[in-house]
Symmetry: C2
């Protein structure tokens, strides 16, 4: 028997639902439904999830008056598996209903909400109150018997159930049974469960058929590492010049990256670098001999986007690098930066892909009055078909080399329409390809890129550092935009070294890594972070002596030996992520409270029914976000989130230090930023 | 020449927009648009406005990169008037664009947003920065000349504009003109205005065609009064019994209602009252002889919903009452309560409109275990067509008597679908008919009833009494739900006497009336409020000796004479509402600040361009919401809302007391709840 493509505590046996004959002359259905989710506010785009993701399916449903309603979710997996899930009322006063389902199959799922009058629940509510109050007891018993008769006659019910229901009907009608005993039958939990599974439905209202795209797990879950292959194995020669690293030398760094526990290795552009107007060290305009230039100034006479920089080796070397990474359990991600150095082959072969000015020159990239003379931006409107074909060719070329992950540079400076087309085109042939949007821009374009197809997005994470900023930000990622936007919480990039890291000392590096690794299922680290590289080019938010413009020679092993490396802590974080499925989910974050204005508290919880190993998993993270302090405070937890009644004790283990405590809903913590600024606590399963 | 059916500061000459040939294979347009409003979140319902309402039309629009975009709104009035309005960027970081338009014609309007690359704005931005910085000056001048040439050749531009543009192009190209002088042309505000009116558009993207229903002014604006006609002119006879008031005696009260300034007079049900299981005084189950019963227990052998209670007079008397009211400038609103007393003619003629129980009896209304034995609820599912036809017949019957306003009792206990059908059916034949929903229920059904068609809704106003509650509540009404829900802020009803009124003393009555009358364009008062009737039936939120179950004899004139009546203050409030068009708008409320936790501050502002008399109108309301105190504090105002720069002085006049002050953005106030708990300040127009 094929296993089910979902996990859920809400599943009930599949039955067809016969819709009530709604009047055809209103847009309002008999049992109104509204605001179904997952959904996307930005346009007619498909919401998305990743394989294994626990998705809350929600709808607002209500009816007039006091009678009870029920709601169910009908799910069709891409391979045609049909399942039915009973929704529960969230009881928040907003008539919101929910079922959580873990989706285990890649492809386009179809889902539909079905709302109905729940005739058993209406009767049960009235009968239990009225019989207890001695009002209309005989009438309520007879009404129940009629309901039970009907249910007992349903062929689709297990025979045992039918027998119980027929017996209950007899009992309700039996004049020798007094009301007290009858009441026990009304309130029998087994009978309630029979009706939960096979509700007595009337006025059945079917919602719209909706789509949900489930992508592969890596689209949503992964620890990313970024390095410049030219730096890995680069050597200072006796004459003081530096010999570039190559794919072959960089390969030697792969075991260390794997040992830190990373899943994806992202390489900045590996293509030939332009020589015309090349940038020198620290973004200067007068490069010195030997300055390698920015990898984002793509293209020279050696080739363009489909070519490997000769300094790095050959295409065969690159393939070998990809294979070596795969052998370490690491996927290689390439950069897709759609722009050209002035000496890119495109410029002479396809000047129509750029903007030609009245003086016949090609327009440089600019942010007036600044000009970036090492780069020509592509003009997507002159020859859209030509550009589409060329970019698709380039992407497929790298897919053919074994690359399935692309980090897209500045997608918000290219038409959104283009990305929708490209990603759909690529994913139609190869649904495993993942695109990460580097769109550091305003919320509307950032979110729209995700909505239009990008599997992942950089976010404002690096600029959210205080407790209140992080509470709002992390909660927003988990609950407001998760239907279409998956964050990749990079802690730093070659372009971003925030003030928090510049001035927060080593505690800041530990704090930010712990938050990134635990708050979202995908996060990233750019090489050098583990060495606490925190000196910025004056007046900028970038590292000084930036690797974008030069080789970096780093003593990885020496730093670890000297105890000067964050690598062991990062390895521990990634190990914790692997051991705890709750940390590999996006939507399961809940914010909790502390009395201190720097102590951030959040939890990630996974119910047993939707967990891959059938066991609940709960991780509580308590962070001192002030890297300059030792703080003690009380933290306050809504323990009901993980099934513990308020005030009840439970055991927690600090996954970093191994310390164990008995916790409750109010707990004392002391977090010393200079030693362990973060508790990552696992809630031990209750017996 | 027919006058325009709109007022707006954003109107520009109508021109056809040729859409850019969007690729047909994406759902993303070239210039993305999202979240157009007015809109309704609850389903495929039409947003609405009232005649004269100033509607903010908004859309999110953006494009890739740094080039500037523009957006315009194309409006088609029901009679076919086409207009074009330039949107302005709200500059809030969310890529939101807006144009405010006052809509002056009843019926279904069509609107569409059009977004485009604004080629002039892109050039102007780059040219002004680059020429000033000495970068590419010649190139930028030539690019501008090319743009001006193109615009100067447009036949639709006034000849004078074309001449200026051609001259500017020549100047930009003139080598004897230096860059400083050329820069003046680039930044010439007259030229910018030419391009604001007739932008140079490329990549034009048309949004969807959307609908907006504009209803008559009374659907959105009015002061309501409620009285029981049986009480008005009722007399205590010598034997102690009370003789019912009639339409003829109640008519005598109309001049006083008109003198208080009310526009609508709502009458509780005027139909025969059931005798079976009639309720006695104070909702008791043992009525005494002479107890008139609840008007909501509709129907007896004297007739049902299409009949007048014999005690009140005849149908001809009712028509005379409606005429007399109209002569006083007052519309009569009737109650539509779809339920029946056990002796209603429906019960014998159409038992299928009710629920028959297994014992053959008809089900009473209930809220288990409570039963309401004086009322049978209608079952809308047994014979939906029959019920529809009957209710439509009843409503049309009263329309034929001159009634165009209905207050609908408990619409949330009847199918939403039914209301959508009924209101559409009635409004198709008579678009002037207004339905007010008395739906004191959860937000989803309450808002859905408004979305599905109700012109007005009772709200949670009576239960929003503190400063922070009112800030959120009033702001929500004006900005979150105004596209589909129009509040009617009744200060009290026969069912609602809140603790705030029970225990707040006379100041509470003044405070709540002032807020209701100024915060929303429609509000209401149930008779007795002006006499400070504040004693509740113990344990309930209703008046004791409730008028629902008995006649009330009130000494209106005596109370005024003794200075014991709020009527003069209410009259003053209604006079202020008539004099100030800003108070007759829903969406123009802005919340401001005070340092006191009970001092509420809000303002209503109307721009001159959208005001009926062409003059701006601003009213600032400052309320001491604590009826037990004298409070003094500073209030802090964002005076930019009414066009005053921060720190600038302006004159205000208290419309209640006539006091005048010079105000600024920070002002001292002292509000004595026992004398004048509310400032209603008019901002004097600036010269």
């Amino acid at each position: 028997m094929r296993s089910r493509p979902w996990r859920s505590a809400s599943a009930i046996p599949v039955r067809a639902a016969r819709p009530w004959q709604s009047e055809r002359d209103t847009v309002t259905p008999r049992v109104p439904q509204a605001l179904p989710s997952p959904s996307v506010p930005w346009g007619p785009y498909r919401p998305k999830a990743f394989e294994g993701e626990v998705v809350p399916f929600r709808v607002t449903a209500f009816r007039e008056g006091h009678d009870r309603i029920g709601a169910q979710l009908r799910l069709f997996s891409p391979s045609g598996d049909e399942s039915l899930h009973r929704l529960v009322a969230l009881e928040d006063g907003f008539d919101r209903w929910e079922a959580e389902v873990a989706l285990l199959e890649q492809g386009v799922w179809r889902f539909r909400f079905e709302a109905f009058a729940d005739d058993f629940a209406t009767w049960e509510h009235a009968a239990s109150l009225k019989i207890a109050a001695g009002v209309d007891a005989a009438l309520m018993r007879e009404l129940g018997a009629v309901l039970f008769d009907g249910a007992g006659a349903e062929k689709s019910r297990p025979a045992a159930q039918r027998g119980v229901l027929a017996g209950a009907a007899r009992l309700l009608r039996d004049p020798t049974v007094d009301d007290v005993e009858a009441l026990a039958t009304v309130e029998d939990p087994a009978i309630a469960e029979y009706f939960r599974e096979r509700p007595l439905m009337s006025l059945v209202t079917l919602g719209d058929d909706l789509d949900l795209l489930v992508e592969r797990e890596r689209a949503g879950v992964g620890a990313w590492y970024e390095f410049f292959p030219r730096s890995e194995g680069a050597k200072r020669l006796k004459d003081g010049t530096i010999k570039s690293g190559t794919f072959r030398t960089a390969m030697k760094r792969l075991p260390a990256v794997a040992a830190m526990g990373f899943d994806v290795l992202y390489l900045p552009p590996i293509h030939p670098i332009g020589t015309e107007n090349r940038k020198g060290r620290n973004n200067t305009l007068d490069p010195q001999p030997g300055d390698p230039g920015s990898p984002w100034a793509i293209g020279s006479e050696a080739g363009g986007h489909d070519t490997v920089h000769p300094d790095l080796g050959t295409l065969a070397d690159f393939r070998a690098f990809v294979r070596a990474a795969r052998a370490e359990g690491i996927e290689v991600a390439l950069d897709l930066a759609l722009q050209a150095a002035p000496d890119h082959p495109w410029v002479t072969e396809h000047p129509e892909w750029f903007t030609t000015l009245p003086d016949g020159s090609i327009a440089y990239a600019e942010n007036p009055p600044k000009k970036y003379q090492d780069i020509y931006p592509v003009n997507f409107d002159n020859d859209p078909d030509g550009i589409r074909a060329e970019v698709l060719r380039v992407v497929r070329h790298w897919i053919a080399q074994g690359v399935k992950v692309f980090r897209v540079d500045n997608p918000h400076t290219k038409p959104l329409q283009f990305w929708e087309w490209l990603i759909r085109e690529v994913n139609t042939a190869d649904p495993d390809v993942v695109f990460l949007a580097e769109a550091f821009t305003r919320p509307a374009p950032l979110q729209s890129l995700a909505a239009a197809g990008f599997q992942q997005s950089y976010t404002y994470f690096t600029w959210r550092n205080t407790k209140t900023e992080l509470e709002d930000f992390l909660s927003g990622l988990a609950h407001d935009t998760a239907d279409f936007l998956r964050p990749n919480l990079f802690v730093n990039t070659p372009d971003i070294l925030t003030e928090y890291l510049q001035f927060g000392g080593r505690p800041a590096y530990r704090i930010r890594a712990a938050i990134a690794a635990t708050a979202a299922p995908t996060y990233g680290v750019y090489a050098g972070y583990e060495l606490y590289e925190n000196v910025a080019r004056p007046g900028s938010e970038e590292n000084i002596d930036n690797e974008k413009y030069e080789y970096k020679l780093r003593d990885w092993a020496g730093a670890v030996e000297r105890g000067d490396s964050l690598a062991p802590y990062i390895a521990q974080l990634n190990e914790i992520r692997r051991a705890h499925p709750a940390l590999r989910q996006l939507r399961n974050l809940s914010v909790h409270w502390s009395d201190d204005d720097a102590i951030l508290v959040y939890a990630k919880h996974l119910e047993a029914a939707v967990s891959p190993d059938g066991r609940a998993d709960t991780v509580i993270v308590v962070v001192n976000t002030d890297p300059h302090s030792v703080r003690q405070t009380m933290v306050h937890l809504d323990t009901r989130v993980w099934g513990v009644a308020p005030g009840e004790p439970y055991e927690v283990e600090d996954l970093v230090t191994g310390a164990r405590w008995t916790w409750s809903d109010h707990n004392y913590v002391m977090l010393d930023a200079f030693t362990e600024p973060v508790h990552i606590l696992h809630v031990k399963e209750q017996r």
